[in-house]
């Protein structure tokens, strides 16, 4: 070009300093504010419910423990009434809340990269001065921090809500559907769901399939952890006493004879043994040890009931263990996602 035209340009660096990280805060907020508002609405709605219902339950509980004398029929009936009405509500709330981390992970995590790939806007975002992997890292870390913090705060509310039901012995903290809503577990599961969503979005490159994959993947992981993994975080204690301490979590039970394993305390082998030895028994379920029950019958025949259990005091160590491996998994998933962003050819 000749001297007739003068370029209107500012001076430029040969190798520029990176664009500051903090710039991504507004960008992330503006792009994802609808989804974040959705999460806020979801958690907010639940929070309002827990607050109102929880206040009711706490009042009822306070009235319950003020009841004197404690072992009169009137107070016993009041206790039954309490567990009858509030117990089921608590269970339903806990079941519904199982879905929350999955929904957050799917609807916040999957679109971060999934929508960019699907709509082609990555061709805009990854050619800006900020650079593609820094852009992805900033977004994912910011969103992860926000959803994890929100989930953490929410689980404090849930713990307060559920307290009376623990106090009356309706259920124990180790119960799977409640364990993962309290302590650090709820925040950790939400973070993991988000990380799964982010990776799914980057791998699948379409939002709706990525959401589906996130929900499925999270469900699989959560079931596996709750049903199979969690009981063995530390080696369970073993006892042959029929009654466990109050908040202990029975992991498994079996019958032994003469020091040797005989059969598990549920299932077809138990039924066969009871039929053989107890001539049918009274038909009530195993483990109920009133006179004439199958449990007493087996004891009379020399069988001992052994129980693997986790004492209630291990609740917090288990929370930290679960939180720890979920955190490590989340970091790994996000690292893989960033690696894919760096590596991916258009």
């Amino acid at each position: 070009m000749t001297a007739l035209t003068v370029p209107a340009r500012a001076e430029r660096d040969v190798s520029p300093r990176p664009v500051p990280w903090r710039r991504m805060a507004w960008v992330t907020w503006r792009q994802h504010r609808i989804a974040l508002a959705g999460v806020a609405a979801l958690l907010g709605a639940f929070a309002v419910y827990l607050e109102l219902s929880g206040l009711q339950m706490h009042h009822a509980y306070a009235a319950l423990i003020a009841c004197h004398p404690a072992d009169s029929t009137a107070c016993q009936d009041a206790g039954a009434l309490f567990t009858g009405s509030y117990g089921i509500k608590g269970v339903i709330a806990a079941i519904l809340l199982q879905a929350v981390p999955a929904l957050i992970g799917a609807f916040i995590g999957a679109p971060v990269l999934g929508r960019e790939m699907e709509t082609g806007t990555f061709r805009y975002a990854w050619t800006q001065g900020f650079g593609r992997w820094r852009w992805a890292l900033a977004k994912l870390v910011l969103l992860a921090a926000v959803v994890t913090a929100a989930a953490g705060a929410f689980s404090l509310l849930f713990s307060w809500y559920f307290q009376p039901l623990f106090a009356v012995g309706y259920t124990i903290p180790f119960t799977p559907m409640v364990f993962d809503l309290r302590g650090v577990a709820f925040a950790a599961w939400t973070l993991t769901a988000f990380a799964i969503g982010a990776l799914a979005g980057m791998l699948i490159r379409r939002v709706v399939p990525a959401i589906a994959a996130t929900l499925a993947g999270y469900a699989g992981l959560a079931f596996a952890a709750g049903l199979f993994l969690r009981q063995y975080y530390t080696t369970p204690l073993v006892t042959n006493k029929p009654d466990l301490p109050g908040s202990a979590w029975a992991v498994s039970q079996w019958y032994a004879k003469d020091g040797k394993f005989a059969f598990p305390a549920r299932g077809s082998q138990l039924v066969d043994a009871v039929m053989q030895l107890c001539h049918g028994g009274t038909g009530r379920g195993p483990g109920i040890s009133g006179p004439g029950s199958p449990a007493q019958c087996l004891t009379q025949h020399g069988y001992t009931l052994w129980t693997n259990y986790q004492p209630g005091s291990r609740f917090w160590p288990f929370q930290w263990i679960e939180g720890g491996w979920l955190l490590a998994l989340s970091v790994l998933l996000i690292a893989v996602t960033i690696w894919l962003v760096r590596r991916r050819a258009a």
């Binding site: 070009m1 035209t5 003068v6 370029p7 209107a8 340009r9 500012a10 430029r12 660096d13 040969v14 190798s15 520029p16 990176p18 664009v19 710039r23 991504m24 507004w26 960008v27 503006r30 792009q31 609808i34 709509t119 082609g120 806007t121 061709r123 805009y124 975002a125 990854w126 050619t127 800006q128 001065g129 900020f130 650079g131 852009w135 590596r343 050819a345 258009a346």
Partner: protein, 302 residues
């Protein structure tokens, strides 16, 4: 300075080579048109130049030797991909804000003035704009970054004639201000008006590369008796079209070469030249070792 320089550049997707043995040296200060049929490798080449793809073979550097995709390259190059991607649920003003945050350099005043000139309200959501407006928005954002090189992938394919004209007018005005432009195009008819450097890609290879002026000066159309057409096979003939009595030969020879007796020589237009080369995949016209103006066209194996 060469805004884009490649040596032995190749890109493979699975087993297929989308681009092979690509050797280019695009000088700064030009509007370069990248032309070729669908699947020729135009988008691949552009993606490699802006850092959206990694080479499978060879190397590509930009803006005078900077590795493509590096922070310095991202800083100096603005890219508008096909269909002018913008975030459809954000407003024009939001897109200004986002782009400003993602770059070192952003001339917000220019961008706002330009959008006002175009009649695009800042509050308008990008998804509700017409195709032409979206394209102009994407272009405004790119130019507001004050790039040294503007890369456009089929920018006007989806635009109506007026939108197309206005878009290209904006691009060319930027070129007048000193921005080098590299754009891929299907529309051959407008090439001669717009481009002064041409790259013709065919089946993943560079067939033609050079200044438009030099290319046109180095080719002529010879018209003469069909019977004599084969006699001139020793000349660098690019393409032959023949009727019963008359034949036209597109030859790689300049005005200084003598015209055979009984034959007429005509100059060639760019569209005719490009079409001829597209019809002859084996022919090529690439610049010789000397760079810059004055380089003669040398023939590569036919």
């Amino acid at each position: 300075m060469n805004v884009v320089e490649t040596s032995g550049l190749g890109k493979r997707y699975g087993r297929t080579w989308a681009l092979r043995e690509c050797a280019l040296a695009i000088p700064a200060g030009h509007v370069t048109a990248l032309v070729g049929p669908n699947g020729a490798g135009k988008t691949t080449l552009l993606n490699l130049a802006v850092g959206l793809a990694e080479p499978s073979a060879g190397a590509v550097t930009v803006l005078g030797g900077v590795p493509a995709g590096s922070p310095a390259a991202l800083d100096g190059i603005a890219f508008v991909a096909q269909d002018a991607p913008v975030y459809k649920n954000l407003s024009a003003g939001d897109m200004l804000h986002v782009t400003g945050n993602l770059n070192h350099r952003f001339d917000r005043a220019y961008a706002q003035d330009r959008l006002a000139e175009l009649g695009i309200p800042l509050k308008q959501k990008a998804g509700r704009m017409s195709g032409g407006q979206q394209a102009q928005l994407a272009l405004t954002l790119a130019l507001a970054r004050r790039p040294r090189l503007l890369v456009l992938d089929e920018p006007v394919a989806m635009l109506d004639p007026i939108a197309r004209h206005d878009f290209m007018a904006t691009v060319l005005a930027a070129a007048a201000d000193g921005v080098s432009v590299l754009l891929s195009s299907h529309v051959l008819a407008e090439l001669e008006r717009v481009a002064d450097y041409l790259i013709l890609l065919s089946k993943g290879r560079v067939q033609v590369a050079g200044q438009v002026e030099d290319l046109l000066a180095a080719h002529r159309m010879l018209s003469g008796p069909a019977g004599e057409a084969d006699r001139y096979a020793d000349r660098p003939v690019v393409h032959v079209r023949r009727g019963e009595a008359q034949a036209h030969l597109l030859v790689r020879a300049g005005a200084q070469n003598p015209v055979p007796d009984g034959w007429e020589a005509h100059p060639v237009g760019l569209e005719e030249l490009v079409l001829a080369y597209l019809r002859e995949p084996g022919a090529a016209a690439l610049p010789g070792p000397a760079r810059g103006r004055g380089a003669t066209m040398t023939e590569v194996a036919r």
